[in-house]
C-alpha cells in the first residue's frame, strides 16, 4: 500500500470514527423510556475522542515503523551474509553494498553485473520489506480497530469527553512549543559535539588565540604551514561590524530622531516604510550590490584621492552592511524615543529649551539605555551576517588594520569550509562548527544583554 493510499485510508477512518462516535452519543440523549438525558459533553467531542483514539495510535505506529524498519532489515541482511564476504568488508564497502542491493530490489538495476550474494541479499530485502510492510499494516489495523471499539464502547452520558479532548489539545500545544526549545538545544548540542570533535584535532588554545588561518590539508612538506588560528577571522568580523555601525548609527539614529520628533505625519508615513524596505531585502542582494556597485565606486572614489581601496574590502562590506542595519537602528530607536514620556519634553520646553536642546539634553539621555540595546542588536546582526561578506569582503584571512584591504570573517569561513565536499571527519570541515559555536556564543551574549537592557528600559516607562 503506498503512503498516499494509507493516508487516504487513515483520513476515511478518521471521518468514520468521528461519525460513529457522534451517532452513538446522539442516541444517548434519549434513554430507553424516551426521557431526555443530558450529556456531559456535546456529541462533537465524543466523535472527536473516538476519532482520536482510532487514528492517532495507528499513525504513531506508522511513524515509528518507518523510522526503525530500515535499520532492522539492514541488520537482518548483514546477519545472514556469508562469513567469507563479511570478512573483507570495510564500513564504506558495507554502505556501498547496502545501496547496491536497495537499487537491485527496487528494480532500478545496476550499471554492472551484480554478484550472486548481492542478488540473494536483494531478494531477501524485498521479501523482508514486503513482510515488514504487511506486519505494520496489520498492527495499524488492529490498533485502529481496538481504539475504535474501546473508545466507542466508553461513550456514556457522564463521559467527560470534552475534558479529555481538551487535554489532548493541550498536550499537542505543549509538544509544538517544545520545538523551539528543541531547536536551541539542537543548535547547542550539535555544534558543541562537532566542535569537540574538532578540538580533538586542534588544541583549543591554538584555535582561539592563533594568528594564522591556513586550514590546508597537511601533506608531506607543508607541516607547520597549516594554522587554525581564529583571530584573523574574529578581527575581520569585528572590523566590518564596526564599519557597519559607523555608517548605521549616525544615519539610523538621526533618522529616528527626525522621524519621531520633527517629521510631519505625512512625511513619516511615507519615509518610514521605505526605510524599512531596507530590512526586508535579502542579504544576497546586498552582497551583489556591494560587489557590482559599491565596491567599484569606493575603489574609484579612493583613487581620486590617491587611496588604494580594493573593490572587495572590509570597507565595501562594512558600508553595505551598514546600509542593511540602518532600519534596525532607526525603527528600534524610533520606538524607544517615542516611549520617552511627553511630560519630560513638556518640562524642558516649558523652561524655554528649543526642540533640539530638549532632544539632546533630555530625550536622548532618557532613551540612551534603549538605544544602546538597539545598537547591540544591530551589532549582533552585523556579526552574524554572511552573504554580504562572502561576496564583498574579499576572503583574505589576514590580520590587518587597514579597512581598504580584503579580509575574511567567521561566517565567510564557515561557508568556505562547508561547501563543496562534505567530509565531516576532517578538521577542515569540523572547524566550521567550532567557528559557528563561537559565533553563536558572541551573538547570544550581545542579544541577551540587549534584550535585558531594552526590557529594563520599557519597564521604567510603563
Amino acid at each position: 500500500m503506498s503512503n498516499l493510499m494509507l493516508a487516504g485510508v487513515l483520513l476515511m477512518l478518521l471521518a468514520l470514527a468521528y461519525q460513529l462516535g457522534l451517532t452513538r452519543s446522539r442516541k444517548l440523549t434519549t434513554d430507553l423510556s424516551g426521557q431526555k438525558v443530558r450529556l456531559h459533553s456535546r456529541p462533537v467531542y465524543h466523535g472527536a475522542l473516538v476519532a482520536f483514539w482510532t487514528v492517532v495510535p495507528a499513525f504513531g505506529v506508522f511513524l515509528l515503523w518507518r523510522f526503525i524498519q530500515p535499520g532492522v532489515i539492514n541488520q537482518m541482511i548483514i546477519a545472514q551474509l556469508p562469513e567469507a564476504i563479511m570478512a573483507g568488508m570495510t564500513d564504506s564497502d558495507m554502505r556501498v553494498f547496502l545501496r547496491r542491493i536497495t537499487h537491485l530490489s527496487s528494480g532500478f538495476g545496476l550499471s554492472d553485473q551484480p554478484q550472486p550474494h548481492e542478488l540473494q541479499a536483494a531478494e531477501l530485502l524485498s521479501v523482508l520489506q514486503v513482510r515488514g510492510h504487511a506486519l505494520m499494516l496489520a498492527l495499524m489495523a488492529s490498533l485502529a480497530a481496538a481504539g475504535l471499539y474501546f473508545s466507542w464502547q466508553q461513550i456514556h452520558p457522564d463521559l467527560r469527553a470534552r475534558n479529555q479532548m481538551e487535554r489532548v489539545v493541550k498536550v499537542a500545544l505543549i509538544a509544538c512549543s517544545s520545538v523551539a526549545i528543541l531547536t536551541t538545544i539542537g543548535i547547542v548540542l550539535s555544534m558543541f559535539g562537532e566542535a569537540m570533535r574538532f578540538f580533538a584535532f586542534v588544541n583549543p588554545m591554538d584555535f582561539f588565540f592563533g594568528t594564522t588561518w591556513n586550514p590546508r590539508f597537511q601533506t608531506a612538506g607543508t607541516e607547520g604551514q597549516t594554522g587554525f588560528g581564529m583571530l584573523p577571522l574574529l578581527w575581520g568580523t569585528v572590523m566590518i561590524a564596526l564599519i557597519a555601525l559607523l555608517v548605521a548609527i549616525p544615519v539610523g539614529l538621526m533618522a529616528a530622531i527626525y522621524m519621531s520628533e520633527y517629521a510631519p505625519s505625512r512625511v513619516r508615513s511615507v519615509a518610514k516604510p521605505i526605510i524599512e524596505v531596507l530590512a526586508g531585502i535579502p542579504t544576497i542582494v546586498y552582497g551583489f550590490f556591494a560587489l557590482i556597485t559599491v565596491g567599484p565606486f569606493l575603489s574609484s572614489f579612493g583613487a581620486t584621492f590617491g587611496l588604494d581601496i580594493r573593490a572587495t574590502s572590509a570597507l565595501t562590506a562594512g558600508v553595505v552592511m551598514g546600509i542593511m542595519i540602518i532600519p534596525f537602528i532607526s525603527s528600534l530607536s524610533d520606538d524607544i524615543i517615542t516611549q520617552v514620556p511627553r511630560s519630560l519634553r513638556d518640562g524642558s520646553l516649558g523652561l524655554g529649551a528649543t526642540q533640539s536642546e530638549t532632544i539632546r539634553k533630555v530625550v536622548l539621555p532618557a532613551a540612551l539605555p534603549g538605544i544602546v540595546g538597539a545598537i547591540l542588536l544591530a551589532a549582533s546582526r552585523a556579526i552574524g551576517e554572511t552573504m554580504i561578506v562572502v561576496l564583498a569582503a574579499g576572503n583574505s584571512p589576514v590580520l590587518t588594520a587597514n579597512p581598504f584591504e580584503a579580509v575574511s570573517t567567521m561566517t565567510v569561513t564557515i561557508v568556505n569550509q562547508l561547501t563543496g565536499d562534505l567530509d565531516f571527519a576532517s578538521p577542515q570541515s569540523l572547524v566550521a562548527f567550532a567557528l559557528g559555536l563561537t559565533l553563536f556564543v558572541i551573538t547570544l551574549l550581545l542579544n541577551v544583554i540587549a534584550l535585558v537592557i531594552v526590557r529594563k528600559y520599557r519597564e521604567q516607562y510603563e
Binding site: 470534552r162 481538551e166 489539545v169 493541550k170 499537542a172 500545544l173 505543549i174 509544538c176 512549543s177 520545538v179 523551539a180 526549545i181 531547536t183 536551541t184 543548535i187 550539535s190 555544534m191 559535539g193 562537532e194 544615519v251 538621526m254 533618522a255 530622531i257 527626525y258 520633527y262 512625511v267 519615509a271 526605510i275 531596507l278 526586508g280 535579502p282 542579504t283 544576497i284 542582494v285 546586498y286 552582497g287 551583489f288 557590482i292 540602518i326 528649543t354 526642540q355 533640539s356 536642546e357 542588536l377 549582533s380 546582526r381 552574524g384 551576517e385 554572511t386 552573504m387 561576496l391 561566517t411 561557508v415 562547508l418 562534505l422 565531516f424 562548527f433 553563536f440 547570544l444 542579544n447
Partner: protein, 459 residues
C-alpha cells in the same frame, strides 16, 4: 552682577535681576536657533541618506537587470531536412508489449535521435541569411546558443511529422552575441580579448541590421533550469521550483507549529520561571545568525538523519526552524492585543478555556497571524546562507520534481550566477534574477500589508 543673591522681597533688585536675565537669554538666542536649524537639517539629511540608499540600490539593480529580460534572439527558417534527420518511425507501444521492452525500444530510438546533427539544420538556416556561413561553420555556430539544438531535437521527438517541413523559429543567440549587441563589452577591444571572432561579430551586426537578431522577451529565463553549457538558456525554473517547495514546507510546518506554540505560551502556559526562560529563548532564537541554522541543518539533518544533500526537504526544514520564532513572536503579539474582555465574556457564559481560545480569541487573531506568517515566509524566501551549508549551492541542471531531488533556490541561484565567469552576461542576468526575487518578496509583503489594513481590528 551676581544673579542669585538678590532678596526676593526687594522689588527693584528683583526687577534688575530679571532684566539682566532677559538680556542674557536674548544674547544666547541667535546661536541657539542656528543650532536648532543645524540639528533639524542633520535629521533631514539622515532620512535623505537612508532614502537615497534605497533609491540607489533599486536603481542600480533595475537598470542592470531589466534589459536582461529581453534577450538577443534569432528568427530563422529551419528546414527539418529529412536528409539530415535520418531516423526510423517513432516507436509505438504495441498491443501486448510489456512496458519494459517498449521502454527499451523507445530509449534506443531516443539514442538514435541524440546522434543526429541538429546543428546542421541551424547551420543551413543561417546560410540562408548569411551565405558565407556555410564556409565557416565554427564561426557560424557561435551565433546560436548550444542548447537550441536540444530544443530542435525535442520538437522532433514530440512530433516526428515535422520532418520535411519548414518552420520559422526563434532561437536564442549565444550569450556573447547578447553581450555584443547590448554593448556590455567594449567594442574597441583587441581581437584577442574579444569572445567572438571578428567574422562572427561582423555577422551579428549584419543580422541585427537585417532584423534577424532582435531582443525578444526571454521566456528561457523563466522556463529553463540552470545551464552551464548553454549560458544563454540558463533560467530560473529549477531554482523557482526549489524555493516553492521550501516555502510550502515552511508554510505547513513553521506556521502551524509557531501558531500552536504561541497559543500555548500566551493563553495556557503558567507564568513562571520556565515560561520566562522559553520566552527569552524564543527571542534569542529569532536573533541567532541564519548561518547557525545552516550548521544545525548540516549536522542534524544531513549527518544524523542522512537526508540527501541539496534537497528542498532539508532546506525547508532548516528554513522552518528559522522562521518558527518569527511566527511565534508575531502570533503572540497579536494574541496579546486581543482584549481580555473577549476571553472573560466567553468564560462567563460557561465556555471552557480551550473553547474560549479556539472559538473566540483565535478567529480574531487570524489576520494578525496571517500577516506575521507571510512576513516570515518572505524572509525565509530570501535567505541564502543556511542553504549553502546543506549543499544547495551545487549546480543543478534540472527542475526538481520532488522535495528529495537535488535543487537550488532563487537566492542561491543568484549567488551561483554572480560568480559565473562570463561576468558581462551574468551581471545582467543575476540582476534580473534579483528583480524576480524582489518582486516575489514585495508581493508577499504587499499582501501582508493589505491583510493588515483590511482586517485591522481596533480595540
Amino acid at each position: 552682577m551676581k544673579i542669585s543673591t538678590v532678596n526676593p522681597q526687594d522689588k527693584t533688585a528683583l526687577a534688575q535681576q530679571r532684566d539682566l536675565m532677559q538680556q542674557r537669554v536674548a544674547q544666547s538666542l541667535a546661536k541657539r536657533h542656528a543650532k536648532e536649524k543645524r540639528f533639524k537639517l542633520t535629521g533631514q539629511l539622515a532620512v535623505g541618506t537612508a532614502l537615497a540608499f534605497v533609491a540607489i540600490l533599486f536603481i542600480s539593480i533595475f537598470s542592470k537587470g531589466l534589459p536582461a529580460f529581453w534577450q538577443a534572439t534569432l528568427t530563422l527558417d529551419i528546414y527539418f531536412d529529412p536528409d539530415i534527420i535520418l531516423i526510423d518511425e517513432k516507436p509505438v507501444q504495441a498491443a501486448g508489449e510489456s512496458d519494459a521492452t517498449f521502454q527499451e525500444r523507445y530509449q534506443a530510438w531516443q539514442m538514435d535521435l541524440a546522434f543526429i546533427n541538429f546543428n546542421g539544420l541551424i547551420l543551413n538556416a543561417l546560410a540562408e541569411v548569411i551565405p558565407e556561413a556555410a564556409a565557416h561553420p565554427r564561426d557560424a555556430m557561435r551565433l546560436v546558443t548550444s542548447g537550441e539544438r536540444i530544443a530542435l531535437r525535442n520538437l522532433v521527438e514530440e512530433d516526428p511529422s515535422i520532418i520535411g517541413s519548414r518552420k520559422r523559429l526563434n532561437l536564442l543567440a549565444d550569450a556573447n552575441v547578447d553581450v555584443w549587441i547590448k554593448g556590455n563589452i567594449d567594442r574597441d577591444l583587441a581581437d584577442s580579448r574579444q569572445q567572438l571572432s571578428a567574422r562572427t561579430r561582423g555577422w551579428v551586426d549584419q543580422l541585427v541590421e537585417q532584423g534577424v537578431i532582435k531582443n525578444r522577451f526571454s521566456t528561457a529565463l523563466f522556463m529553463n533550469a540552470d545551464s552551464r553549457s548553454s549560458l544563454a538558456s540558463a533560467g530560473l525554473a529549477g531554482a523557482f521550483m526549489g524555493s516553492l517547495m521550501m516555502m510550502l514546507i515552511v508554510m505547513f510546518l513553521a506556521v502551524p507549529l509557531g501558531v500552536a506554540s504561541a497559543i500555548y505560551l500566551e493563553e495556557f502556559a503558567p507564568k513562571n520561571k520556565l515560561t520566562d526562560l522559553i520566552e527569552v529563548n524564543i527571542n534569542n532564537l529569532a536573533a541567532v545568525p541564519s548561518i547557525v541554522f545552516g550548521l544545525l541543518g548540516a549536522s542534524v539533518f544531513i549527518l544524523w538523519f542522512k537526508l540527501p544533500l541539496s534537497a528542498p526537504v532539508v532546506g525547508g526544514l532548516v528554513l522552518s526552524l528559522m522562521t518558527l520564532p518569527t511566527v511565534i513572536i508575531a502570533t503572540r503579539s497579536t494574541l496579546k492585543a486581543i482584549p481580555p474582555s473577549i476571553r472573560s465574556a466567553a468564560l462567563g457564559i460557561g465556555a471552557s478555556k480551550v473553547q474560549s481560545v479556539f472559538h473566540h480569541v483565535l478567529p480574531l487573531a487570524i489576520p494578525g497571524i496571517l500577516t506575521g506568517s507571510i512576513l516570515g515566509i518572505a524572509q525565509a524566501l530570501g535567505e541564502t546562507a543556511p542553504l549553502l551549508l546543506i549543499g544547495m549551492s551545487s549546480f543543478v541542471a534540472s527542475v526538481p520534481s520532488s522535495p528529495f531531488d537535488q535543487s537550488t533556490a532563487l537566492p542561491v541561484q543568484i549567488y551561483l550566477w554572480q560568480g559565473n565567469e562570463l561576468r558581462n552576461f551574468f551581471e545582467a542576468r543575476t540582476s534580473a534574477a534579483i528583480i524576480v526575487l524582489l518582486t516575489m518578496m514585495i508581493s508577499l509583503n504587499a499582501l501582508a500589508i493589505w491583510l493588515r489594513r483590511h482586517f485591522e481590528n481596533r480595540w
